[in-house]
Amino acid sequence: MSETKSEPLFSKKNKELITSPLNKTNPVTIQILGICSALAVTVQMDNALVMGFAVMAVTALGNVVISAMRNLIPSRIRIIVQLVVAAFLVICVDQILKAYVYDVSKQLSVFVGLIITNCILMGRFEAFALGNKPWPSFLDGIGNGLGYSMILVIVALFKEVIGSGTITLPGIGKLSIIPESVYQFGYENNGLMLLPPSSLVIVAMIIWFQRAKNPDLIEA
């Protein structure tokens, strides 16, 4: 891309693209996008990590593709074009996951396919990639993917540690976090944390914490 020569590859503005989705414009807690999968795949840490990585890859690559084609896409049919690009990338990711981490892909079940309709993806295509050059779009995709993964990892951490007392990492397997002696004192895993509603409460807590820290984000 010859246009990007005018500014350095990691200029201040470009760094901002990666860091701001981690906090002030977080796709999950501030823009309320991509909630569906963020809540459903967080029972185990390895699912959350794989899902976060998959979304990051699709958002970044999809942003690059859309941004490269942005002057060719007629605006009337742009949604269909975006969906096709997203579906193509998701099929690739799905096949890769099936080939290398079959167990995780089995547990994620339909949620890999649902990356296509993940609002973060469409939101970034619409709001950023259609109006920006490929390199900033790539960084924007990475940033938003990271912001999404961050929330997934936090939710999964709480759910898995409190719910089953373990952390499952890809390639390593289950690690017990809570020592055996604590159980002998009568501590028990809280099975409620493994059920769907608890992830909503954890996200609500994250929102609460984040908005209490940044009062300008509070809704009127």
């Binding site: 309320i32 996008l33 991509g34 909630i35 569906c36 999968s37 809540l39 459903a40 949604i79 269909i80 969906l83 096709v84 997203a86 579906a87 193509f88 998701v90 099929i91 799905d94 096949q95 079940s109 339909v110 396919g113 649902l114 296509i116 309709t117 993940n118 609002c119 469409m122 059920l195 769907p196 509603p197 608890s198 909503l200 409460v201 996200v203 609500a204 929102i207 609460w208 914490f209 984040q210 908005r211 209490a212 009062p215 509070i218 809704e219 009127a220």
Partner: protein, 204 residues
Amino acid sequence: MELFKLFIKSAFIENMIFTFFLGMCSYLAVSKTVKTAVGLGAAVIFVLVVTVPVNYLLETLVLKEGALSWMGEEYATIDLSFLSFILFIAVIASIVQLVEMSVEKFSPSLYGALGIFLPLIAVNCAILGAALFMQQKQFNNVGEATIYSLGSGLGWCIAIVLLAAIREKIKYSHISAPLRGVGIAFVLTSLMGLAFLGFLGFEL
């Protein structure tokens, strides 16, 4: 009777929102007033009932392993299921477009009620989610797939209308400032989800 069980199961026990979190984005964004919530809920039911049977036919006649055997012996071993994402989403997007155009032409009043929601629905996870669950559940015939789509659409509609009603009620409640808006909606959904967990014990 089997169909009735399937209907109850898809509407309440496997509720789209409370057990799978599908379509949460529009669920949270459009649940500020009951009126718009009813509109979106109706549109979701409508689109689900139209798209899931079509996708079911696509799945059984084209995509599934061995589905192409009606074309002749040599096609019997072809497995096209890796194409299902792109075909399902293409079917959904084009049907939504078609439905939008025909509703606009034949029933302007319905278009006025559903109009702005229809384009949004193409990217609602609940629609693609229902198609993918339909693929996973391997129904026996189109009737089951239709009942399944009707049930899950109704479950989604009930959920969004309930949340909208509660949010209208608590508009003037005194809520801690950082939780206002989305935060409290998450907590409410979680409490409703706990209530819906009660259906899990149902033996059908």
